[in-house]
Symmetry: D2
Subunit: 135 residues, 4 copies
């Protein structure tokens, strides 16, 4: 079952054409990944970054922007894990507004020890939760 959350297209997201400037979509996507970790994986970014000195940097992205989003649009983001590696995670993310798909994204991130900068294996509890969510 996908993780679902909503974001409103705000003034700060829009370019001179009054549509979302694509780097702002990635701020939204990052916030969706942030909420997924907090709510589903049950380890939030504060716990990761500040307390444990670990992080989940993105290592690759494939994104298609199917149709523009406009100021005031309500976007529904839909996130589902598609692969869990020993140190990595691949997510499939879609955003739509009503019946129209706006973007689809495949994103791979890696679990990293921020002190060494090296990938480390997912802790069992996190891995368990990720595997449960696999589509």
């Amino acid at each position: 079952m996908p993780y679902i959350t909503r974001r409103k297209v705000r003034f700060q997201h829009c370019d001179p054409a009054a549509i979302v400037f694509y780097p702002r979509y990635f701020e939204m996507i990052n916030s969706v990944v942030e909420d997924f970790f907090a709510e589903v994986v049950e380890v939030d970014f504060r716990a990761m970054h500040v307390e444990r000195h670990v992080g989940v940097p993105t290592v690759s992205l494939e994104t298609r922007f199917h149709a523009p989003s406009r100021l005031g649009d309500e976007l529904e983001f839909n996130l589902v894990p598609t692969a869990v590696g020993s140190t990595s995670l691949t997510l499939s993310i879609h955003a739509r507004c009503e019946d129209e798909t706006r973007l689809s994204c495949r994103l791979t991130l890696v679990f990293v020890d921020m002190d060494s900068g090296r990938p480390i294996p997912w802790p069992d509890a996190m891995r368990q939760r990720l595997v449960t969510e696999l589509s």
Copy 2:
């Protein structure tokens, strides 16, 4: 011959791990595309957006982040067109710091009439310049 330009990693680009937050890379990439249009295609974004009501929205992106970039790094961006369609343009973009590749990106954008939101053919002068730059 690729179009080359440099960007410094600033405080505003960095996350709590003191490395570039990836949505900020796309702001840099967009500014590199902006300079490529102004300097090589010889039609700048002001002329496009404000005077002619046309634009070049990004429709797809594939990006790999090979290694993190840190506060103060000087990045060299290297951009080369790899395909020119009737209304589209595919660019290959790399960034490196000294000998290390930091990101590689393939980006497709479309020439669009901003009033109708529809793709339109590249004007001859723009198309000519783009074709000349093809790798």
Copy 3:
């Protein structure tokens, strides 16, 4: 009675010290003003910018940052109009986390015809609502 809304401090807001980078506070403040117009003044930014070609650009700001905000903090924003001019509006905005004030801001914006760039008088309905909210 102040208008109250909440914002979570996200990864995208934080700098290498893991505290809010102050330009991101202004993105939050703008989004609070945006919600105030949508919910209290009952004219949202889409209606203003896209349909009516009017806007409310900020012309002056005084801000004090009393204490830093950290990744994961829940901020409560509190907004109250303190003066309504014929074409202007002054807002007092505070943000706090639990019992600690994080920022206080006095912001003046102007109602502007975006085609001419000139200030124009508040329409009666908007003015009425603003005056009702005056502290």
Copy 4:
């Protein structure tokens, strides 16, 4: 003598009215302060944040936006220290495009030990350089 540097108004800075969205001005201002520290004070943000665990968070701001800036404008930023306290620094910053002043800002920042979060006195070498620049 003021410290002078230039910034181009880019697509990423502009809002649906094709003028600079004011939080983006503060990203520019922060980058101007960053260059002033690197070039005039001769301690860059990487040295401060990464090596010495010190920083210069902004504690107060007064800003007036005199006229809008548009996509493609070349802004000249002009920065001059107006007061150096034992742990603080007040800067006067102006931006103009040709003969038109776009913004004026008075900004106070504090030299802080990032580990304790407490203000600490300017090291002599930094203080010396700041005092020399006082208007």
